[in-house]
Subunit: 318 residues, 2 copies
């Protein structure tokens, strides 16, 4: 039996698990939260203690790490974390290899989750797929010829920053009308808030949404917008449909460009409701050329996709 | 010395050449035009006679074919020609193998030209690139890990039908605002014609362009629009800049999604002038995330890119 340790660092929380190669059941599994004032040093300390706690007196054959931020997967060096200070150019692979004396693989969370779904989830048996995660941001990871495609500089997969409406609102990246600007949870919340605040007094849309937050519009989330839309709120529906439209155009464009077999969608979008999925599917189908076949399916590993992907990464090192 | 025969069928014209593997100089080279009322049978007849004419009493080790239309590269079966009737499901690879008794490889022209530029042109030494051809249509071909990426159904590379402006004019594919709708030669001509016909009587833009065709607006071509723009015609500049903008957004989106090292651009766009290239480069750079590096370079093989790609395809069969 060959023991693997998988680690998932998501910015504000860490998860780790151990598993024997070939098994689909965790031997041990733990989660920790990062403190509010975390930096790279405190995160590394939590990682080390989490690993020791999981391993006890066993030794894994390899360690796989999913990191929530840009990584040079070739050297295993973190470029930065968008959430935590001090992660610039930290040689995470080297640090862990030195400490634990086993091979370590590190990649960013979208690539790792894509690999997880490919080896253990909704992508099993498909040799080309694009995994898209829609939550705080919109990101993606490629599997081509059954292997990760990371791009020349490790930056492939940024479907969130494909422009789908050059006349759209400004995204945090500085451009107008990115997929993420419409479809991420925080932007859905912002779009709903702005629609509510700017609608004509006569129009009374958004009542359901407003009631969900006790009239405190700052409490809006993408999840609440989805719930209000399901409950029939017209304003929430408008925001949700625009998100589904943006994602659908993005997916259709990607289909024309790369022609993968499957799109696997994970993250908050899983809970966006049937209406969201229907609009997204329809728009993606209309955007792709008639000759371009593809399927859009929900991810099946949920929050564990990066951990299972980390298992796959580590397994390749054994 | 290993002889290779390369064939390029472009819809209205055929070219063929022979070369020894390792040489960069054609031994023999011939071109033929398809008759106006061509069908698949007459085209096949021309192909056969062209091959016999080139080979004389020699025998190649393999034949590579670039076909101007969708091809199943795995079986070497043509799906159809958009220009010539009767090509539906013609097993071109099988027909040529039966007749000439050597291995034959067939793929569509964008994929083959991409391979040509990769092995013999502007892509030498780069293991990931996207070749874009801008002429009657806008198409593309991928090289990833130094090999063609054709997609699950052989449809990858359709950058021409990426939507860059959902409020844009309707494209022949039925969608609005595709890259091709702005950047192909015929659409540039149409856009210039429509601008001229609908401008207010007071405005006297397009004088240069109009003079180039002796006031017969039906004679407009993308090439003439480029020439008028270079000569300072404001209306032509507007059309050209919109084409450059559309291509730039498309390229920037592709860079975010796949992060290839290079974009190699061939076709009529080569003659579009420095202004076109500058706008396109700028928009592509602004559309891509700051961390996404890439270069956009002109193709170097010109009209011979598909022939050299066909050499590469045949060489892999030897």
């Amino acid at each position: 039996m060959t023991l693997i340790l998988a680690l998932d660092f998501g910015g504000t929380k860490l998860a780790a698990a151990t598993v024997n190669i070939g098994s689909r059941k965790w031997l041990r599994y733990e989660r920790r939260l990062s403190p509010a004032n975390a930096n790279a040093s405190t995160d590394l300390e939590i990682m080390r203690s989490l690993i020791y706690s999981l391993l006890q007196d066993t030794k894994p054959a390899a360690i796989g790490v999913s990191f929530g931020g840009p990584v040079d997967a070739f050297t295993g060096t973190v470029r930065l974390s968008h959430h935590v200070a001090g992660w610039e150019n930290i040689p995470l692979k080297g640090l862990l290899e030195d400490e634990f004396g086993v091979p370590v693989g590190v990649d960013n969370d979208a690539n790792v989750a894509a690999l997880g779904e490919h080896r253990f989830g909704a992508g099993q048996g498909y040799d080309s797929l694009f995994y898209i995660t829609v939550s705080t941001g919109v990101g993606g990871g490629w599997i081509l010829n059954s292997n990760p495609w990371r791009g020349a500089g490790g930056m492939a997969g940024e479907i969130g920053h494909i422009v789908v409406d050059p006349a759209g609102p400004v995204c945090l990246c500085g451009k107008r009308g990115c997929v993420e600007r419409f479809a991420s949870g925080p932007y859905m919340a912002q779009n709903a808030r702005e629609l509510l605040e700017t609608q004509l007094p006569k129009r009374q849309r958004g009542e359901v949404l407003r009631s969900l937050v006790g009239d405190n519009l700052n409490l809006f989330t993408g999840q609440l917008v989805s719930e209000a839309a399901v409950a029939g709120d017209d304003l929430a529906k408008e925001v949700l449909h625009k998100a589904a439209w943006a994602l659908g155009v993005g997916i259709g464009n990607v289909a024309n460009l790369m022609n993968p077999q499957r799109f696997v969608l994970g993250g908050g979008v899983m809970k966006a409701g049937a209406d969201f999925w229907q609009v997204m599917q329809l728009v993606a189908r209309e955007t792709a050329l008639p000759e371009v076949d593809f399927e859009i399916v929900p991810a099946v590993l949920g929050d564990d996709a990066p951990l299972w992907g980390a298992v796959a990464i580590a397994s390749m090192l054994v």
